[in-house]
């Protein structure tokens, strides 16, 4: 009867430990083990099957001399920078507008956020249809009289990433708006009162008082959004399948192609390790700042 006496620490721990076995296995075997495994095998010449024949940095040298990878990186940079800037600006503006004690706030918020519930595949296919040159936006505007109007991003190698950004923004901005709104609601009402008494215009209050106060919200949102950007894959597959040519290739797609199509595992591992590196550069300093200083009890 263990329930009678105070159960010893060891006994109490055993229950919790047994219950935590799935978590421990996932953390250690899959996340930690899997990551290390991929990193180690990225230094081998694995082709169809993984094998431990080390070739140093050869896979990385090949990776960085492959035009397709360079295009992928450039595309990710374009997508990342544009979607960061626009989603933050639009998301914050929408949040600020919704924070004006307006009526139907819930309705507006529901509308701005619903794309976020959809899959990237659905989003990509809808926008592929809207941007269809023969039936979509271009066709409509030409029909209105501008005969020479051209807006055909999905079939234009120079513009294709902008088309993808357009769809990505439509889907993702609502999330940023929601997080920003939560941040704005966290600002003490007295700050606003004080600013009003001082006669500071609203836009200045936002720019110089509220936004600096919301720094933690911005940083957290930034990390989440950036981690999401690196994963960009489904949207591209649905909208362009990487085309025209390889004009809209992205790293995640490069990894998939080399691992599961081209039977060149080593390249896939090297490319995915580069993805890991890029995330680490963002996340580690953030985690250090966020969790390093203060210890949670």
């Amino acid at each position: 009867m263990s329930a009678d006496g105070p159960p010893g620490r060891l006994f109490k721990n055993i229950s919790a430990k047994i219950a935590s076995i799935p978590m421990i296995l996932t953390a250690v075997v899959v996340f930690l083990g899997g990551t290390l495994w991929t990193v180690i095998y990225s230094f081998t010449d694995s082709k169809l099957l993984p094998r431990l024949n080390f070739v140093g940095l050869a896979q990385y040298e090949r990776l960085w001399s492959t035009p397709r990878w360079i295009v992928s990186i450039e595309n990710l940079a374009i997508y990342g920078i544009l979607s960061l800037i626009f989603s933050f600006v639009i998301g914050f503006l929408l949040a600020a507008l919704l924070d004006q004690q307006i009526r139907f706030e819930n309705t507006f918020r529901t509308i701005f956020l619903y794309p976020f519930a959809l899959s990237f595949i659905v989003t990509g296919l809808v926008w592929q249809w809207i941007l269809n040159p023969d039936f979509g936006l271009q066709h409509i505007i030409r029909g209105l009289g501008w005969e020479n109007f051209t807006f055909n991003p999905l079939y234009d190698a120079r513009l294709v990433m902008f088309g993808i950004v357009l769809a990505g923004l439509w889907q993702g901005t609502g999330l940023i708006m929601c997080l920003m709104l939560a941040g704005l609601r966290g600002i003490d009402e007295d700050i606003w009162k004080a600013a009003r008494v001082e006669g500071i215009p609203t836009w200045k209050t936002y720019l110089f008082i509220v936004i600096p106060m919301m720094r933690p919200v911005f940083v957290t949102t930034l990390v989440i959004v950036m981690a999401g950007i690196v994963k960009l894959y489904d949207l591209v597959v649905a909208m362009t399948a990487g085309g025209p040519g390889t004009a809209s290739e992205v790293p995640a797609k490069y990894v998939y192609e080399f691992m599961f199509r081209a039977q060149n595992l080593g390249q896939g591992f090297a490319a995915s390790t580069m993805m890991l590196l890029s995330v680490a550069v963002v996340v580690i300093p953030w985690a250090y700042l966020e969790f390093g200083g203060k210890r949670r009890g």
């Binding site: 978590m23 039936f135 998939y256």
Partner: protein, 311 residues
């Protein structure tokens, strides 16, 4: 009488008529103009957000001749549900011509066990982490959270090997395990934070009464935490239903989830493009998460906020 608002309005009125230079803080006399601007902008943006949904819907209700004739924004002259029927039961992917229904049922068979399993495991994890902290627990938890940020691509292949070893590669069960694994970081965080907010006294009282690990979990924690379970279910159902990458990597054509099949139907290069069928298929795939979203409302927002805000 000395209502400050009224005073401000009166002052503003004298301002307009009298002096050219106003002094002090700007009074809120332009309330109505400001509101027109505010609501105007919000409505325009809302229309922009709704446009794709509208385009999807009207396209799916038109016949192909009408689509070739008119613009994508025009409402259908003659409503037809044929594209929906065709998308559901006849659309082709490769050699299979039994429509999206196959993918739909695959997705159902993937989503339900994945959601149940991942939430069961994560809630127990969260409970153990919050109330029964053992040595090293936080280290494992830190690794788990780190796993949430690692790009999936890094872990794709090791998991292929693991699944192949246990003979589940390419099966629905295998995909359920994958979803359980990748749902664990965020869900564990969610439950840990929730259980940590339960008053300590309650927990101690139950301990004094002789309840153990499972007793407290089933008799006290579980009944108290219904809201967080609902949030977790919303988060997982939409996330798993919308997944594409894991579906494509860990299943075979027969077991493809709906998103993968949808992409194959729409982006297949063979045959004449039937845009109305494509849009019907797209909207059908989006219907499950959209329904959940519109029904759950605030809880959905809570779910993503919980997913976003640190522990």
């Amino acid at each position: 009488m000395a209502n400050p608002d009224m005073l401000a309005t009166t002052l503003a009125a004298t301002d307009v008529m009298g002096r050219a230079e106003p002094r002090g803080a700007r009074p809120r006399k332009t309330l109505s103009r400001r509101n027109v601007m505010l609501y105007g902008v919000l409505i325009v943006v809302a229309l922009y957000y709704l446009l794709p949904l509208y385009v999807m819907l009207v396209t799916s209700l038109k016949g192909m001749p009408e689509i070739r004739l008119g613009g994508i924004f025009a409402p259908p002259m003659e409503i037809t549900f044929e594209p929906w029927v065709k998308a559901w039961s006849e659309a082709c992917t490769g050699l299979n011509c039994d429509g999206l229904s196959r993918g739909f049922w695959n997705s159902v068979r993937i989503t339900i066990p994945s959601v149940a399993l991942s939430i069961a495991i994560a809630s127990i994890n969260g409970y153990a982490l919050a109330n029964w902290r053992f040595k090293g627990a936080n280290t494992f938890f830190a690794i788990l959270i780190f796993g949430a940020f690692v790009p999936y691509q890094v872990m794709l292949y090791p998991i292929v090997i693991l699944l192949r070893e246990i003979g589940l590669y390419g099966t629905l069960t295998g995909l359920v395990i994958v979803h359980t694994i990748f749902g664990m970081p965020i869900l564990t965080l969610l439950f840990r934070n929730y259980f940590a907010s339960v008053p300590e006294e309650l927990f101690k009282a139950a301990r004094v009464d002789g309840a153990g690990f499972w007793g407290i979990y089933f008799k006290i924690m579980l009944p108290m935490s219904l809201p967080i379970f609902v949030v977790a279910i919303i988060l997982q159902v939409t996330g798993i239903w919308n997944d594409f990458l894991f579906g494509v990597v860990y299943t075979k054509p027969d077991t493809y989830p709906m998103t993968v099949q949808l992409n194959n139907i729409v982006n297949s290069v063979t045959g004449v493009k039937e845009y109305n069928v494509n849009m019907a298929a797209t909207i059908i795939t989006g219907l499950v998460p959209l329904t959940i979203y519109f029904i759950s409302g605030k809880l959905f927002v809570r779910g993503i906020a919980a997913g976003a805000v640190k522990g």
